[in-house]
């Protein structure tokens, strides 16, 4: 079918819903049920479209998934079987006609935006795919998607459970993003990477408004493109909807799209067989434009694509436990907040992609990697580089990653390539390749090129294009192998001249074992950029290194009109070095002067013990703040700012002190209960309790009771704080309390949240109720004293 695209356009049918409404679908009836109750109506709609010239009819299964059919008397299997069979009957005896198994969105949003699990979504789609394939559909159409993550689950389900061609479309708003924020190129690179056969856009807008989206599809896609536009924009008159574009106007726009390179057309809301007929007429004498192969090197999140090789991009290196005490601790303690803050600070300081490595003895790397990726992706919009030495960790991460990841790394060893390339291919990732093989790291540039060549050629055998590869020519340390240092850089042009690969390099090893490492690192980085380095793996919080990158981008004409450079340096005033002796720490906390906190704490640490700072400055200051808050002299934003300032003090002390044990207090577990995703309140409680030295185990939001029980047992926690904001989830709070009390009779539980009251709290078995965050401090004191 797709082979014929060189010669002929392919035509889908138009809207099913519009036709059903016209034929008198009863209100409240699920349209999918008609495949069983009134198959003749569906059959006739298929026939109408086939007679209008459609090559492909779409089964009446848009919402035929187990969640949407919950209240229906019919099972998924019955509806899909009946729908596919009706469609097959309609094409019987006709030539070049096909049946598309239609799969629409599940209707419930995936986590972390919603609460449906990725694996659960996969299972839902898998069921549809297996039944539809078994019943004899010719292709799978995944359509009207607005969430990239859900699309990924659907594509994987289709590719892993069927050999049928997969067509995938998303719906975009007039700002060229889907509702959940995916832009066109991110969709293209992710879907193409996952191996769909055709990609495109449908629904939400009329053909005219879709033109800019089509332009982008054509610019970035290397595979055939399909468009199913609405018949204009919906207008509502007397409660009836109609669409404002006639078949003729519609097909005029389609004609323009065909000239741009779209080869497959159909209709969406408001279209009828008339529209299909009109499209076909308008393309009568034309042939599809051949789609050209594109050569972009990319990594994406769900909302952002980073192009490598067009200008220097920074790979942030801070989320890697090697040599980092705080991160190791955070990993051991499951302290994801610390890791997320590391992600945020790198995003804010100019990293373009973040490396994520959580491999550390005593940590379940696979579970941790999945958790960390999910959390980072829910907060930060940068693409990630999955970094692990274990193949199964990489596979698990690449699978659950939302978007097109970068994987770090393969090397020239046979085993490494055989294990990793299938993963890279399957999940459509870009891959970092190290120039080392069974014989180790080569000493010359030429030998590095040789290994790079081996890797690139081997990758091609797996169907991985060379532009998906970033070669790391590996830096050696100047202290040990001084003459080898430049060989790494000489390899860069050699490799780039031969292949369309990009160059990535961790530069900081070069200075290992020598003093003033920053000087060597920054000098080496500057030289490497001159040799053609595309993506340094580095620390974007390091001002000197970022200075060099920004300056280089000006000199290499990558920063157009020096815009970024001027923005970064145009208004710089010499930093004041006045130590604010006159501010004492207490006052700084009370006033919430977050930026001063660190400096002053460091000064104080020279004269005072950590515990003294906590007891003599922090706690009294916080008490003052708390009192003012209770008297309504200050309000929540100020209370929080003081708390954040105090946290900054605490973090500084912790960082500098070797015996953190003595300033760390009792353990408290906090969680927002199952089903609930409101957690600002819980985060405030956490911050304030941390201020008072309590050690907080924050399990986040939407937390299973079992997970809470497990953590309480493992960490021997005596006080648990639960929050719920909705009436529906307060019930889950009650269940959680029951389970906790049955397992740990002595445990103390405090609760809070918008819909709760003191009465309700005691009714569901909580020991304490707090009406606000500040109140939890007294509760904690009380709980640990009794």
């Amino acid at each position: 079918m797709l082979n014929k695209l060189k010669e002929k356009f392919l035509y889908f049918d138009g809207a099913m819903g519009t036709m059903l409404q016209n034929s008198g679908l009863k209100v409240g009836e699920l349209p999918e049920e008609l495949s069983i109750t009134k198959p003749e109506i569906i059959y006739n709609i298929h026939k109408d479209y086939l007679n209008a010239g459609s090559n492909i009819v779409t089964t009446n299964t848009f919402g035929a998934n187990r969640l949407k059919l919950k209240g229906s008397p019919y099972r998924v299997e019955e509806i899909i079987a009946a729908s596919v069979n009706t469609a097959k009957k309609s094409i019987a005896g006709m030539e070049e006609k096909y049946v598309a198994l239609d799969i629409g969105p599940i209707g419930t949003l995936l986590s972390p935006l919603g609460t449906l699990g990725f694996d659960e979504a996969y299972e839902i789609f898998k069921e549809q795919v297996i039944i539809g394939t078994k019943e004899g559909a010719d292709l799978i159409l995944i359509e009207t998607m607005t969430d990239l993550y859900e699309l990924k689950a659907a594509i994987l389900a289709a590719r892993e459970n069927s050999d049928l061609p997969v067509f995938a479309t998303m719906s975009f708003q007039d700002n060229s993003r889907t509702f959940t924020g995916t832009d066109v190129k991110t969709f293209v690179f992710t879907a193409e990477g996952l191996g769909v056969d055709v990609l495109g856009v449908n629904c939400s807008l009329g053909p005219k408004q879709l033109q800019p989206i089509v332009d982008e599809l054509v610019e970035f896609s290397s595979i055939p493109i399909m468009v199913q536009a609405n018949a204009g924009l919906p207008k509502y008159i007397n409660n009836a909807s109609y669409y404002d574009i006639s078949p003729l106007e519609y097909s005029r726009e389609i004609n323009i799209m065909a000239k741009k390179g779209v080869a497959i057309f159909g209709g969406c809301c408001g279209t009828t067989p008339e529209y299909i007929k009109s499209i076909i007429n308008s393309l009568n004498k034309m042939k599809p434009v051949e789609i050209s192969k594109k050569y972009f090197t990319t990594a994406t999140s769900s909302s952002k694509t980073v192009f490598l090789g067009q200008e220097v991009k920074i790979i942030g290196e801070r989320i890697n436990p090697t040599g980092k005490k705080r991160l190791k601790e955070a990993l051991k303690e499951n302290n994801l907040d610390y890791i997320i803050r590391e992600a945020i600070i790198q995003q804010e300081t100019g990293s373009d992609i973040l490396d994520v490595n959580v491999g550390f003895p005593g940590v379940d790397e696979k579970q941790m990697m999945k958790k960390v990726i999910s959390e980072i992706q829910s907060v930060v919009s940068l693409p990630l580089q999955i970094d692990s030495a274990n193949y199964d960790v990489i596979e698990a991460a690449a699978r659950m990653y939302n978007g097109k990841p970068l994987i770090n790394s393969v090397n020239g060893k046979k085993e490494s390539m055989e294990k990793l390339f299938p993963i890279v291919k399957k999940y459509g990732a870009s891959i970092v390749a190290l120039t080392l093989d069974e014989e180790g790291i080569p000493s010359t540039a030429e030998k590095r090129l040789e290994i790079a060549s081996n890797i690139v050629e081997k990758a091609k055998e797996y169907g991985i294009a060379e532009e998906s590869i970033l070669i790391d020519p590996l830096v050696l340390t100047a202290s040990a192998q001084q003459t080898a240092v430049m060989e790494t850089l000489k390899a860069i042009p050699l490799i780039k001249n031969k292949y369309k690969v990009k160059i990535i390099l961790g530069t900081s090893n070069v200075s290992f074992g020598l003093p003033c490492r920053n000087l060597l690192n920054s000098t080496y980085l500057a030289i490497a950029l001159g040799y053609g380095l595309d993506a340094p793996i580095t620390d974007s919080t390091n001002q000197v290194l970022m200075d060099i990158v920004r300056a280089y981008k000006v000199l290499a004409a990558q920063d157009k009109d020096s815009r970024d450079y001027i923005e970064a340096y145009g208004n710089i005033s010499p930093e004041s070095n006045v130590i604010t002796d006159d501010y004492d720490l207490k006052e700084i906390i009370v006033k919430g002067l977050k930026d001063e906190a660190r400096k002053v704490s460091l000064e104080l640490l020279k004269k005072h013990k950590p515990l003294e700072i906590v007891n003599e400055f922090m706690i009294p200051a916080l008490d003052v703040v708390g009192e003012k808050y209770q008297k309504q002299e200050i309000f929540l934003p100020q209370l929080i700012r003081s708390a954040e300032t105090s946290k900054e003090v605490f973090d500084t002390i912790k960082e500098k002190s070797t015996k953190t044990g003595e300033i760390e207090g009792k353990k408290i577990l906090l969680a927002t209960v199952k089903g609930d995703i409101h957690d600002i309140g819980k985060n405030i409680v956490k911050l304030i309790l941390e201020n008072y030295g309590y050690k907080i185990f924050d399990l986040g939001k939407d937390v299973d009771a079992e997970r809470i029980v497990e953590t309480v047992g493992k960490e021997k926690i005596e006080l648990v704080g639960l929050s719920a904001l909705m009436t529906t989830t307060a019930k889950n709070m009650e269940d959680t309390i029951k389970l906790l009390k049955s397992k740990f009779p002595g445990i103390k539980i405090m609760v809070g949240g918008a819909v709760l009251t003191a009465d309700y709290a005691s009714e569901i078995g909580a020991d304490y109720y707090s009406k606000d965050a500040r109140g939890t401090v007294d509760i904690a004191k009380n709980a640990f004293n009794s």
Binding site: V27, G28, G107, T108, L109, L113, G114, T115, L116, T146, S171, Q173, N175, T178, F179, T180, G181, C203, S204, P234, Y236, N239, S241, D337, I340, R341, I344, S378, V379, V380, G592, Q632, I634, F635, L636, P637, Q638, I640, R641, A643, E644, G675, D676, I677, H678, D679, I680, N683, I684, L687, L725, M726, T727, T728, T729, A754, V755, T757, K771, D772
Partner: protein, 230 residues
């Protein structure tokens, strides 16, 4: 049914209202909070996507069973009371979109005081958006010679939020404005509202009170027997 994407310039983000959500009554705002408020309001205005959809249904009432042309069926004494003089009701859904949601999440990790202020402003913003939608509905009602009731949302009184799913599906809200609902009936994006507005043919006048405020269930003022009115 009517769908509208509102131009961001057309919405008023009421900072005073946001301050009320932060439990201020009349007190002066300190400089830092003031700056945060201005900065966040400007940012919110830039990134929110204001969308609403509504549809007007004929009501069928049998005692306290109320049906919106079979799309939504609710058993409720409160709605029965509200719709005493109504044969029709508009059902509306409004949202600020996912970017607002994402920003609130981001700030709750990066800068908690900003998250709070941003969240309060977004709450004020969605109220304004609902007002805009209500104004459009009111105009339609006027043409039919009706006054309108106040906005009544699932979660008030005896109407459980478990009706959210039916409401969204009756309005095709996922497809039209990108609004979804979780298993525990939480609207996602969270800065979203659904509501009923009855058409009163006997032209009664309905007054706002705590009882029909969106924050009725979770209001800190009312919990303490207070209210937010100065």
């Amino acid at each position: 049914m009517s769908v509208k994407y509102l131009d961001n310039d057309l919405i008023k983000i009421d900072k005073t209202e946001a301050l009320r959500y932060l439990r201020y009554k009349n007190e002066d705002v300190d400089e830092n909070t003031g700056r945060l408020l201005d900065e966040s309001a400007a940012e919110l205005k830039k990134i929110c996507r204001l969308k609403y959809v509504f549809r007007i249904f004929n009501l069928e009432k049998e005692d306290n069973n109320i049906s919106f042309e079979n799309h939504i069926k609710i058993k409720s004494d409160d709605l029965k009371g509200l719709f005493k003089h109504c044969d029709k009701s508009a059902v509306m859904a409004a949202t600020l979109g996912f970017e607002t949601e994402k920003r609130i999440r981001y700030y709750s990790m990066a800068d908690l005081s900003k998250a709070l202020v941003f969240d309060a402003l977004a709450a004020a913003c969605i109220e304004s958006l609902c007002d805009a939608c209500e104004a459009e509905i009111k105009e339609i009602a006027e043409k039919e010679g009706c006054t309108i009731t106040f906005r009544y949302s699932p979660g008030y009184g005896d109407v459980p939020i478990s009706h959210q799913r039916e409401i969204l599906s009756a309005l095709d809200a996922q497809k039209l404005i990108g609004l979804t609902v979780s298993d525990s009936s939480i609207l996602i994006p969270r800065k979203s509202v659904t509501a009923f507005i009855g058409f009163d043919k006997s032209r009664n006048f309905y007054k706002n009170s705590c009882l029909n405020c969106s924050f009725f269930q979770s209001c800190d003022f009312s919990k303490e027997g207070d209210n937010c009115v100065k």
